[in-house]
Amino acid sequence: MAEVVERPKPVTAREVARRVLAHENAVIGIALAALIGVLGVISRGSTVTASNMANIVLQSSIRGVAAVGQAFCILTANFDLSVSGVGVMAMMLGSAMMTTEWTNILGYPVSPFMAIPVMLVVAAAWGLLSGTLVSRLALPSLIVTFGVWQIGYGVAFYITGGQAVMELPRSFAIYGSLPAAPIIFFSVAAVAYFVLMHTSFGRRVYATGGNPVSAYLSGINVKNVQRSVFIISALCAGLAGVLMTSRGMAGSTEALRGIELDSIASVVIGGVSLFGGRGNMIGVVLGALIIGVINNAMGVMHMGHAGRYIVKGAVIVGAVAADILRRRGR
């Protein structure tokens, strides 16, 4: 019997292409490119101008920052619905501290270098609250963050009596403007990528989301991990509040409405499993850009509220359904 000689297969271009395409993030990237192309054709080029592209990146970076935090939550199979509540509260607090108007709660305007840390710390404190309720009392994160969202809005209204706050210091405008906001977004995402991929905390997050029982059995403090992801998410929500305040140079209780939906949609489109333990930060960034492109195109094409709501709802449900069907196929 002749011996069968196994020859190593040569690495063909086709093989490389297949591997790249099989990678999840490549699919998301291609979807992003295709979306930009299709929308460019539909809008007859008005969405693909350089200035509009810059605008998309700017808009996405505020929502993207919140999506990075949300990704931590969803990786542990939790949700944070309180993003806009926490963000708006940070926004109203910070702007009411910095304004030179009569709405100032301190009686004198403070500098952004004082106000921004306060905004972030207060936001993180709210994350600590929901994180503690979820991890220590084992309450469903959905309800807890829904309640915290509500309370956050209540506090935001309370700070200025629902009054919009204007007249913020000039030096504050830089954070939400063009070079700075995307830089902040991409650096936050890069830090998050590093934390998730190269630290033991990242591993603990994935383990907690993948299988909390086995994570617990292998010595991970599951409760602390759960609590910290809510703090991270709230911190990111607070940062989104900072960026949004700076971008509009005003504090308004309406400014961040719906950002939790956009952040969940970004994370889901970015390939993070809603059941925890699966997904990566590059996908989330791409997902945030996809949502940004969709939002922007709907604005540029003067689509009314009706179309926006329907498209967003369909995108969220469609992305999750696609994720589930794809995994079922395996």
């Binding site: 084992a138 469903p140 969220i316």
Partner: protein, 347 residues
């Protein structure tokens, strides 16, 4: 003498036992809490809140939430959640009012449709949208929270599509009867007396739901699906169809709630139903429905909705700011879930 003492003792013991059982029953606790809150509100508002006219008002304003909460309960009993309630109520009310408004330039048909066309159309739209979220949950396996969150957006969009963002007013004549009518009006025209019709609708929905959840096989399917879906499936219950049906029920009851509010305030705008999903969830949870499924009663949910309605009513009499209302609702909800957790024995 000793015999009398003995008999007295046994009588006291029996009374104690009955009292203990009544108080030990979950719904009795809720009733006591409701009474206490009503008492507190009465003191705080200088007895304004317990006037008969105001109590009727609580029933009328609370009925939208109360009806929606009963629908929400069906979903939560199967361990799901319906976040689309407010969107659903808005979308279907927008359709109904756009068909039934007498302001012809806003009417999508060009003439005001009679209520026996408009109301079934609303319920059909609600059932259709509920069917879609039900299919996504039961057949595709999308988590209920995402499916209904998306459906909230879609139904809200449908509402915007129909109203164009405007406020619709002036509905055809018999419609106000459902939201602002009084029972006596049905017999003696123009006499605003007796019991509010909206309250009657709430009670009727409650009675039907009570019957369905206590005396039918369907109830067993709903509770079993929520309690342990695998077990339910193994004992021959069609878990998928049960899950599908509860979203349709919730959507239709949200529609009914929307109908009551539309006919009460005689106008529909996108802001009409803010926080309805939150209120309905809070009512169900306060009423003792476990968010993990399989546990809860209709009576409890009605009491839970009454508690929220009384609190909201009392705060508006006291002239509380909207921020306090929003905060109180948030705190109430988290507290109710925490109580549910302790009741489950720290599981």
């Amino acid at each position: 003498m000793a015999e009398v003492v003995e008999r007295l003792k046994s009588f006291i013991d029996r009374a104690k036992d009955i009292a203990r059982r009544v108080i030990g029953h979950e719904n009795a606790t809720l009733g006591i809490v409701l009474a206490a809150i009503m008492g507190g509100m009465a003191v705080a508002t200088g007895l304004k809140s317990i006037r008969i006219s105001n109590m009727k008002m609580v029933l009328v304003t609370g009925s939208t939430m109360g009806v929606a909460a009963i629908g929400q309960m069906f979903v939560i009993l199967t361990a799901g959640i319906d976040l689309s309630v407010a969107g659903m109520a808005f979308g279907t009310s927008a359709l109904g009012s756009a068909m039934m408004t007498t302001q012809l330039w806003q009417n999508i048909l060009g003439y005001p449709a009679p209520i026996w066309v408009g109301i079934p159309a609303m319920l059909a739209l609600g059932a259709g949208l509920g069917l879609i979220s039900g299919i996504f949950v039961s057949r595709v396996g999308v988590p209920p929270f995402i499916a209904t969150l998306g459906m909230w957006q879609i139904a809200h969009g449908v509402g915007f599509l129909i109203t164009g963002g405007l406020t619709l007013r002036r509905m055809v004549d018999p419609l106000p009867f459902f939201g602002q009518g009084w029972v006596a009006q049905a017999f003696i025209p123009g006499r605003p007396a007796g019991f509010p019709v909206a309250g009657i609708i709430w009670i009727l929905v409650g009675v039907v739901a009570y019957f369905v959840l206590h005396h039918t096989n369907y109830a067993r399917a709903v509770y079993a699906t929520g309690g342990n879906p695998v077990m339910a499936w193994l004992s021959g219950i069609n878990v998928r169809n049960t899950r599908l049906s509860v979203y349709i029920i919730s959507a239709m009851l949200a529609t009914l709630g929307g109908l009551i509010r539309t006919s009460r305030v005689m106008s529909v705008s996108f802001a009409s139903f803010g926080f309805l999903e939150l209120q309905s969830i809070a009512a169900a949870v306060i009423g003792g429905v476990s968010l993990f499924g399989g546990r809860g009663t209709v009576v409890g949910v009605v009491l839970g909705a009454l508690i929220i309605a009384v609190i909201m009513n009392g705060m508006s009499i006291l002239g509380a700011d909207p921020f306090i209302e929003s905060t109180v609702l948030g705190v109430l909800m988290i507290t109710a879930v925490a109580i549910d957790y302790w009741r489950r024995g720290g599981r």
